[in-house]
Symmetry: C2
Subunit: 178 residues, 2 copies
């Protein structure tokens, strides 16, 4: 055992829900002491930066947890057993009505590894082709098309404040030398 790893001694399921579950783990710390960790279990997600000409598509959504309307890149939860690439193609068709002719993986991120298992696979989608799939019944959003440079301005100004959106737009900016 290295000087950092914690070992689970026992694990209590607390809640098993629709999107997330919650468990409480009792752990042995690297120094032999005990502590507890609250762990949200999440199936993982995909998020996509869709570029068309020099524009990017974002979505405006009400987020109850933030109690605000956010501007985010299209994203969604992985279905059971679904490959991330397929999920990215599906979410893009559901949320903005395009499928990617070219899909490039940008890496990925743990959203909050202190307490949630969620990992988001990040993508760049180009060569977009019109194609629409029906959205989830309980999902409502507005599509916003704006110049990529304006989206970057909003990130730098702190006007866009969704974590995955900041990370993915800036990763694309570096890749494109923007």
């Amino acid at each position: 055992m290295d000087n950092l790893t914690e070992k689970i001694v026992s694990s209590e399921p607390v809640y098993d829900g629709k999107l997330i579950s919650l468990r409480v783990d009792h752990v042995e710390l690297p120094n032999g002491e005990r502590s507890m960790r609250e762990i949200v279990q999440h199936p993982g997600a995909v998020a996509i930066v869709p570029l068309l000409d020099d524009d990017v598509f974002l979505v405006r959504q009400y987020r109850l947890a933030a109690n605000t309307i956010t501007l985010e890149i299209p994203a969604g939860t992985l279905s059971r057993g679904e490959e991330p690439d397929r999920a990215a193609e599906r979410e893009l068709q559901e949320e903005i009505g395009y499928r990617p002719g070219k899909l490039t993986r940008l890496g990925g991120e743990y959203t909050a590894p202190g307490y949630t298992t969620e990992y988001i696979h990040l993508y760049l989608a180009e060569d977009l082709i019109h194609s629409r799939l029906a959205m989830d019944d309980d999902e409502f959003l507005d599509i916003v098309r704006l110049p990529f440079s304006e989206a970057l301005r909003q990130v730098e100004a702190g006007e866009i404040d969704d974590g995955k959106t900041i990370a993915a737009l800036l990763l694309v900016a570096r890749r494109l030398g923007r």
Copy 2:
């Protein structure tokens, strides 16, 4: 009411824990239908990019939720009633043993607004001065000092996969024209 906002009809507390709480909200959707939202309540956090000469300080930590050791910028949860700027100064002294002579706000981010209230205030810390505060009893980490350009390379290569770390390092890179 706009065409996006959801209205809470009733709210059930599920769990009230050490770091997080969980509630289930029953909501009225914009179309009048009902749905439910699982909401993790989190006190909020700070995360800091500490620069010294041309280096950045990161921390290696075991993250049980990710079941891996991550490389992250110093960060921590807000104490009750604590101002984010004070929390940033405190966390920096606890985690890397410096306090900032100059602290600049970079904005902030919702880590996963689909289900958690967590908002992280992001900072750039410069003009670092040696000053150490004791860490939490159950926190174990290694300090890693590396050139800022190497940290950026690791972000672009997908080797750094913590969301706030990707966002904050790239925001600093843009600010510094790097």
